[in-house]
Symmetry: C2
Subunit: 319 residues, 2 copies
């Protein structure tokens, strides 16, 4: 019987941790998840995860070989193998690599979520065969994974690729990082909600969104209103696309990428976000870059993207 | 007799073209220059250059071997080997590699001035042993050569590393590129002169520089006034350092560099520019990057820097 070669991809989130076994073509052979329980030590999560995995493996009839373990986690540093002061997790500093190796003696590699998404895109998604591209994750925050010459940019200390904190507005909005005017404060799901709030408060223009309570105003309800041609909701998408497009025009000057790939909740708004992003990026590009940089949606299925990205960390290293 | 291995470095400028033979340790074995005569075809320049070189070589008593030819030139594209629409040169498009190979059958490599400076810094200057750093050239314009994982970032089409055109002020100063608010419009030699002009025009504060004619106001005269503690001249350096430091804080988010290396005329102003640059960079950095990124002057001797950078193009490829 031929052995099936797989890598274990783990995505540690604030609430849930997903894991899965993935083959070299991006086929998810097995997937599962468990509560992160971030108020307890990380050891407890890893122990439960491997118990759950071992249970699943016992029931397999195929002959499989696990080649290594890739992990995507907030604030995970590829160089040190640690996660340091992760947002939404109570762990101060966790040496993930050592912790995992106590359970399984295989190559272990960690990185943050956005970098994992970029590697997943290169292995299984819309960046196949690309050597230079930028993956932008548009979720609660804005992250980026940057690929140059076919390799992730980690920089000198492993913290490169923080495009979400580039200043896009001098003395602009307060960002969660403590600074002002970061891209993340405008182009994230919370950013578009803040923009919408400003638009509602600064005009008397009619909008269906005026009927909603404060807690009901979200990127999702703004999206639904924009689909119904609500003019203020469309304006909120235009403003969001402007900041993102301007940011991409600036990033192009550094990297001259083949493509930007937009990933995550806000990216699934389709033309509502892609159209303004492209318009404002092109309007702000240096002439030599105009009309040649692709803006693509992620090619990873949303439900498995995190697992695929984490597993790609290992596939990228061993192939 | 042992043969001395050298590379030929050529720096093509708007007025003069310098060339030299450089050994692997950055010793300039032979240096010379000639008028570029950019109104005549590029063939004419290359023909005269090799005549001059051959004359010099005939007189040598050492046994030398030339390993290749590296060229730094405005708008030179490493991938295509061409220079396209170079500023200050009448040539529309010149295939430099082919042109040089008609004279000498050796590896030929071209890139722009800032990228050549970065390679020179890595081979012979203050970036020895660095894998991730950004060289910023502060001259009439602002250029950058970016090194990631020990390799220059050329990007998908060879035009990466244009940090001088990052927008630092929304709807700001007109830049030579046609766009508004580029770093180059503030942090170049002409940028500081524009800042000084604004400072003089917008206040009645005393300044020695008020005695100068319009054409006498330059980065050099501003520097001299600042050395004499002229308050407005010091303010001009502070403003210039602010834009540059803010730009470097943003670049750090993408690259997490070990160091920024400042090269060129304005960089030789020493503390007058380094001190505000550091102050404003640190003030704008994301906390994880604070107090660990070096800001260094170039370690290349100014007079030979262009030749060293061009020759490093070849040394980088063959060693």
């Amino acid at each position: 019987m031929k052995t099936i070669e797989l890598t274990l991809g783990i995505d540690i989130g604030g609430t849930n941790t997903k894991f899965g076994l993935v083959d070299q073509n991006g086929h998810v052979y097995l997937r599962d998840s468990l509560a992160t329980e971030a108020d307890k030590p990380a050891e407890y999560l890893i122990q439960r995860l491997f118990e759950k995995l071992d249970n699943r493996l016992d029931k397999l009839s195929d002959d499989i070989t696990i080649k290594g373990v890739g992990i995507g986690a907030p604030n995970a540093n590829h160089y040190t193998g640690k996660i340091e002061n992760p947002p939404n997790l109570s762990w101060v500093s966790v040496d993930l690599v050592t912790l995992i190796k106590e359970h399984i003696d295989l190559p272990v590699s960690v990185t943050n979520d956005a970098n994992a998404a970029a590697l997943g895109e290169m292995a299984f998604g819309n960046a196949k065969d690309m050597q230079n591209f930028i993956e932008i994750t548009l979720g609660t925050g804005v992250g980026s994974g940057i690929v140059v010459n076919g390799e992730l940019v980690y920089g000198h200390d492993g913290f490169a690729g923080e495009m979400g904190h580039v200043t896009v507005e001098r003395d602009g909005r307060q960002c969660g990082c403590g600074r002002l005017g970061c891209l993340e404060a405008y182009a994230s799901a919370t950013g578009i909600t803040r923009t919408m709030r400003q638009l509602l408060d600064s005009s008397d223009n009619p909008s269906e969104l005026r009927k909603l309570s404060e807690s009901e105003l979200s990127s999702k309800t703004i999206y639904n209103a924009a689909l119904e041609k609500d003019q203020l909701a469309l304006k909120a998408f235009d403003t969001t696309g402007r900041y993102l497009g301007e940011g991409m025009a600036n990033a192009t000057l550094y990297f001259s990428p083949e493509a930007f790939i937009l990933f995550g909740g806000l990216a699934s708004a389709g033309d509502l976000i892609f159209r303004p992003v492209k318009k404002y990026m092109e309007a702000n590009l240096l002439p030599i870059f105009r009309n040649k940089i692709k803006i693509l949606p992620s090619g990873l299925p949303m439900s498995d993207a995190a697992i695929l990205g984490a597993s790609a960390l290992i596939w990228h290293d061993i192939t």
